[in-house]
């Protein structure tokens, strides 16, 4: 049985008096493709941010590659990458300059042309502020693949993208997985995302409602939300 990339026991995160995530028990095996599904405010983003050490939980135990992200954030940051709603790009820099900065800061070999070609942005020398939302998303994906993470946490991978971008992103996520990374995504595009993932978890109002094979998640999602199948 593969080791766990993420192991959560009774994990909870509270904002003020409201629990955004509560009583979450979960094991994501290393090398797997895991899907988080849920309505807005169901706790998907919160879970990804906890695993990425961007936030700290209020209760329970959480381990990423066996280490507590709240205590061992420095150790984990070389292995974990988060692609969040905000692209986290420097608007006044070009796509190339953003990636050069990443490579310089993270002491990586700067394979800029390769990373830009992977997201089809090799011919855009203008600053990121001139980019469309979809292009920013692609550049954020270039940052993600450049980091070659062992754990890729991706919030709404299809957000802001056109249909061509959907296929591109699917390809990139599978490349990550082929490189041995564990991929965890949170998506509203249940049908599409369920075709990519192995296992899935349905969250509802911050609590887990269903967990199982990803191919069954559309039905589970419909049942949880009483959507006619």
């Amino acid at each position: 049985m593969p080791a766990a990339a993420i192991e959560a026991r009774d994990v909870g995160r509270r904002y003020g008096r409201r629990w955004a995530l509560a009583r979450l028990d979960l094991i994501v095996p290393e090398g797997s493709f895991f899907l988080l599904v849920g309505a807005n405010g169901s706790g998907k983003t919160t879970f990804l941010r906890l695993a990425a050490s961007a936030e700290q939980r209020n209760r329970g135990e959480l381990a990423v590659f066996g280490q507590d992200p709240a205590r061992r954030a420095e150790n984990l940051r070389a292995h974990v990458a988060l692609l969040s709603h905000k692209a986290g790009l420097y608007e006044d820099l070009s796509a190339r300059e953003n990636l050069e900065l990443l490579a310089g800061l993270a002491s990586m070999e700067p394979r800029i042309a390769e990373w830009l070609a992977a997201v089809q942005l090799e011919d855009r020398p203008d600053p990121v502020r001139c980019f469309s939302a979809g292009m920013r998303k692609r550049l954020a994906f270039a940052r993600l693949i450049a980091q070659r993470p062992r754990l890729a946490l991706i919030d709404e991978p299809y957000g802001q993208l056109d249909p061509v971008g959907f296929d591109l992103v699917d390809g990139l996520m599978h490349t990550l997985r082929d490189q041995g990374a564990t991929v965890v995504i949170a998506s509203h595009l249940v049908e599409r995302a369920s075709r990519q993932a192995d296992t899935a978890l349905v969250l509802h109002q911050g609590t887990p409602r269903w967990q199982g094979p990803a191919r069954k998640v559309p039905a589970a999602w419909a049942a949880v939300h009483r959507v006619p199948a």
Partner: protein
């Protein structure tokens, strides 16, 4: 060291691309100097006597705009979080940003100094090169704690109001030393006190730059 260089390069490159911002800050500092001269009136002796204080007040006030704006942009775009989630030393982030802030503040300070000399009709009685050294030490004394507090307050809605409340009391010793040293260069240093004030400035700079570098990771990490 490599990470620090990249941070510094990034901040200075971004400022160079948006260089209208430094020009606007310099204009703001000059406007403050003009307001001081209008407030005092045509008493040229009083203006000359207090010129060093006006200079440093204008630099200090401009610094709060510079410091809050820089961090706010990075926090709002998510770039700061992206940076913090990389395996990058918080000290490299701090020193890169603090040095960049110091360079920009120094540019504003040089403009404000030149305008002060012309506007208040002051001719330095000591070697003017001392003025540059005082500017470097004075802006360093504002930049290090300013960068720390700007990072601390960047997520607040009222960052621009909170930052001066935190920063100004902390930099009082630096400002007093900078104003006194500037006064001695402009008005003459008959008693040989300039060295002492420069030492005071240098010591505070050393304390601020070492302490703030250690605290930054705990504040923003």
């Amino acid at each position: 060291m490599n990470q620090l260089r990249w941070m510094l390069y990034k901040d200075l490159l971004i400022e160079w691309r948006g260089r209208a911002r430094v020009a606007a800050l310099s204009t703001f500092a000059v406007t403050l100097l003009l307001l001081f001269s209008f407030a005092v009136g045509p008493d040229t002796d009083a203006l000359r006597t207090h010129a060093p204080a006006y200079l440093w007040l204008s630099v200090l006030t401009a610094s709060t705009l510079l410091l809050t704006h820089g961090f706010k942009l990075e926090v709002e775009s998510g770039a700061m979080e992206g940076l913090l989630l990389l395996p990058v030393s918080p000290r490299a982030i701090f020193y890169g940003k603090a040095i960049a802030n110091m360079v920009l503040l120094l540019a504003v300070g040089v403009v404000a100094l030149l305008v002060t000399l012309v506007l208040f009709d002051v001719t330095p009685r000591e070697n003017p090169i001392w003025l540059l050294l005082i500017l470097v030490l004075g802006t360093a004394g504002v930049s290090a704690p300013g960068t720390l507090y700007a990072g601390l307050t960047a997520r607040l809605h009222a960052a621009q109001m909170v930052l001066p409340v935190l920063l100004f009391p902390l930099v009082v010793p630096c400002m007093v030393a900078a104003v006194r040293a500037t006064s001695l260069v402009l008005g003459g240093d008959a008693m040989g006190q300039l060295d002492s004030w420069l030492w005071v400035l240098g010591c505070f700079d050393a304390i601020y730059w070492s302490l703030c570098g250690v605290l930054f990771g705990k504040v923003i990490g």
